[in-house]
């Protein structure tokens, strides 16, 4: 039974896009990712509207004082097992905002992050590689 479930999880990762006050650059690239050109449905990847349906969280942007509470809450709303992919240099290491008065913590100190995809913004191909790598962590 467990093997069947893992087989399903690897082939049908539903993605929720969690923008934690990003500058919109990564978000636009994520939307690019979902266009027919890149055809994510090959891997069973579907963008869902509700965190309750999601398996993979695509996090973009830095977490600031306003959004940290909501950020934690959305993470908790995702049912287990879940994977987190940090998209963009901001989500990986806070980039140029690391000295900002409004910056609290890097993403990976708030929630566990499975895969980092650096870039400002990363290419859609890099994001696909990131999600596929995250799926390989399921043993």
């Amino acid at each position: 039974m467990v093997n069947l479930f893992k087989w399903g999880l690897k082939r049908s990762p539903w993605v929720f896009h969690l923008a934690a006050s990003a500058c919109n650059n990564c978000d636009i690239e994520i939307l690019d990712l979902l266009t027919p050109k890149f055809d994510l449905e090959r891997f069973g990847i579907v963008l869902v509207g509700s965190p309750r349906h999601a398996d993979v969280l695509l996090v973009s942007g830095i977490v600031n004082r306003q959004s940290i509470e909501r950020f934690r809450r959305v993470y908790d709303q995702v049912p287990n097992p879940k994977l987190v992919v940090a998209v963009g240099t901001c989500a990986c290491s806070a980039n140029m905002f690391r000295d900002s008065y409004n910056f609290v913590k890097p993403v990976d100190q708030i929630i566990p992050v499975d895969v980092y995809v650096p870039g400002c913004p990363p290419k859609p191909e890099a994001m696909i590689a990131g999600v596929v790598k995250a799926l390989q962590k399921i043993k």
Binding site: L9, P36, G44, R52, H53, D55, P79
Partner: protein, 303 residues
Amino acid sequence: MLRYLFYYLVAPGFIFSLILGALTSWIDRKLTARLQYRQGPPWYQPFADILKLLGKETIVPEGSTRLVFLSAPLLGLAAATLASTLICLFNLYPAESFGGDLIVVVYLLTVPSLAMILGGAASRNPLASLGISREMKLILAYELPFLISLAVVIAKSGSLLFSGILGPQVNHGMFLYSFSGFLAFLVSLLVVQAKLGLVPFDIAEAEQEIMAGPLLEYSGTPLAIFKMTKLILFFCLPILMITLFMGGGGIWWFILKYILIVTLIVLIKNTNPRLRIDQALRFFWGPATALALLAFVLAVMGW
């Protein structure tokens, strides 16, 4: 007794309908993908989705009515499975038909929508309640033309039984070939679109505006059950259409007609934008009802 349990649980009930419904849903996704110049998912995609959802954690949101929230999906699944079993059974063995079975099936086909309304209302989410109010209006909208187009079939065959509807079509050709039958077929094709919650009428689940509507708070097994209900409906509604309007012919003809109807549904889905709820209501109560009424008058006149 055991025989009927087998019909309900294995074939042509739950397992059979689920597998064929999943394959139909794959045809839908693959065709959609090809229409958008992409490859699309592999054939086992719907199975992978269901298996994954069955294994995920089930979250019951704080403040929701636990009993209704968890039992509503089961209600919908049970009704959809029974409807699918009955429709397939009457096609295989017309002798099993009983008095007024058409009415039983029509009632059973509304229950999945009602289950969605119950579950959405129990989940205590503002977007879900927005979704259920739209779903309710949509049911009110499409049931009227649907019932009138059923009345066309009843007027043409003079029977409320599936066997009585299939009989004249086997002997004298399908109802689709007459004026009234064709009009009623068009109307009920659009109604099937709305019953399945597909694009011009996916107002209740509108992914881009109210996330997933009534399903918003569902996760894990209950969500899987809702998805299975959808798959079973996707299997049995085209078969209902074939029984009502395109009866007769052998098994290969049957498969051909099935694929034709599914393709029509997918094409309508892919070439139309979503309507607003008031537009859908106006459409179903206006032109669709007028067409169905015209078809009824033609059917009574013997066209």
